[in-house]
Amino acid sequence: MDNALEISGLKKVYKGGFTALKGIDLIVKQGDFFALLGPNGAGKSTTIGIITSLVNKSAGSVKVFGHDIDKELEKAKSFLGLVPQEFNFNQFETLLTILVNQAGYYGVERPLAFQRAEKYLKQLDLWEKRNDAGRMLSGGMKRRLMIARALMHEPQMLILDEPTAGVDIELRRSMWEFLRELNQQGITIILTTHYLEEAEMLCRNIAIIDSGVIVEDTDMKSLLSKLDQETIVLDIDKITEAPKLDEFTTRLIDDHTLEVDVKKSQLVNHVFSQLSAKNINVHSMRNKSNRLEELFVSLVGSGQNVNQESK
């Protein structure tokens, strides 16, 4: 089975010379609920833009359900539904017009398009507004309108670029619920966010991007356990082989440097007591600085208001 998305060596240099993506690789499996997490300016929207052909890439390749966007662009496009970060519908058109025309661009005949528009507008609680112009909607409604629009051609993969930014917590939860249901129906979902909590709540797999580089690409569980531990670096007597400690993972870096992973729930004492028991002396210790950790300190700042932010 083809992967839903395969990105390799993707680079983007914007006009003016700024390098937004420095050669990233990503694989998203069919049926996955995938998070692309990163701080502002990391390159999330640039990546999404290239996948959906709104941004020209500088190098690398992108395959959507096995179709290379350089060779079979139209085929690749037909698999994708995009909910962009910025509102990009015509502010003067009615919701129904926006949806039915969008379906038309994918070859959906008008009668069927009207049926689908009704279905999604109802599901997303916008049916009452169907004859209003887009500009009359609140921010949360506009976001939902863009979700409905992205679903009109029933895509295999839905890509949402920061869908819950500026959406209040109540709506955010119902949007999460809606996305979960779509995923359960088999639609692959990729979501960018700078809230770890959001990714944690929804996603099975996650990649973390920072300054145009993928710094982590793993499943949610491993990431959380990684974040839950610190690595301490010990300067020790010369030994030849990493000592086996109960409940701790150790790595010998060179013959007198030992790294030990300590979970937040564990006590560092237990490392020392076990080392003493093995007659290994510790001369000094420090925390290993960890890029992921640092990144999260910066992300957590914004992640904390996930429950407070409104509008």
Binding site: F89, Q91, Y105, G107, V108
Partner: protein, 257 residues
């Protein structure tokens, strides 16, 4: 399969475009009717009666085809220029760019929308003219062909203008500084045979001269230029402008970063 999809996409763009100018009909359909009435009152009734005949017809009858053509030109041009630029501005052009819509369908859809407005306004203006003057028809096919090709030419022009435009000002520069002067000098109000020889020569490089004259031929059966030449000029313009528009959209100029 994909040709059926393209047809549905084309219909959607046309529908969207026609819907747009119909929605704002007070801004799009009413002004040309008012303008042409003013032209008739001023040039036809007040001044025209003193001018007497032009090309063997009374002045009012002589200028009607040119005035209709002028509305077709301005409306097909500005429809596409405003609509496509505003789609860039509001970014809803992205709705088409993410979808499997080939570039020629985008061009055809917008140009078709501009032609629809140009031709509809042409028809409105013709009806208004009937209030002031009897219109005779010499050759309906020449009229239809000229109006179709002219609206296509200027719709393409408006599209190219919108692709390059970075602000709303940029879509009024060309109409104000190029289109309007060319139209006024394009033989709408006079037969170019009245001009000194030098200026007759200069007029030959104004494409609007060919359109106005072919159109006038359709109504009155008189023209300052040969029809073959007029249609060749129109055809050449359409091909050149189409190739330019397609190249720009394919390269994503002003559309993709």
């Amino acid at each position: 399969m994909s040709s059926k999809r393209n047809m549905i996409a084309l219909k959607s763009i046309l529908y969207k475009e026609i819907n747009r100018f119909m929605r704002i009909w007070v801004q799009t359909l009413v002004p040309p009717a008012i303008t042409i009435s003013l032209y008739f009152v001023i040039f036809g009734e007040l001044i025209g009666s003193r001018i007497g005949q032009m090309g063997g017809f009374d002045y009012m009858s002589f200028i009607v085809p040119g005035l209709i053509m002028m509305s077709v030109i301005t409306n097909s041009y500005s429809n596409v220029a405003s609509s496509f630029f505003s789609a860039k501005w509001q970014r809803n052009v992205e709705e088409m760019l993410v979808a499997p819509v080939p570039n020629w369908v985008i061009v055809a859809g917008y140009v078709g929308g501009g032609m629809a407005r140009g031709i509809l306004v042409g028809a409105i203006v013709t009806l208004v003219s009937l209030l002031f003057v009897d219109i005779q028809i010499h050759n309906i096919w020449v009229i239809i062909a000229t109006v179709t090709l002219t609206s296509a030419t200027f719709a393409l022009g408006g599209l190219i203008n919108a692709i390059f435009a970075g602000s709303f000002d940029d879509i009024s520069i060309i109409p104000t500084f190029i289109l309007t002067p060319l139209t006024y000098l394009g033989g709408v109000f006079y037969s170019i045979s009245l001009l000194p020889e030098f200026w007759q020569g200069v007029s030959q490089i104004n494409p609007i001269v060919y359109m106005v004259n072919a159109f006038r031929y359709g109504f009155l059966g008189i023209s300052d230029v040969s029809l073959t030449l007029a249609f060749s000029v129109l055809g050449a313009f359409i091909i050149i402008l189409y190739v330019i528009a397609m190249t720009l959209i394919t390269k994503g100029i002003g559309l993709r970063s």
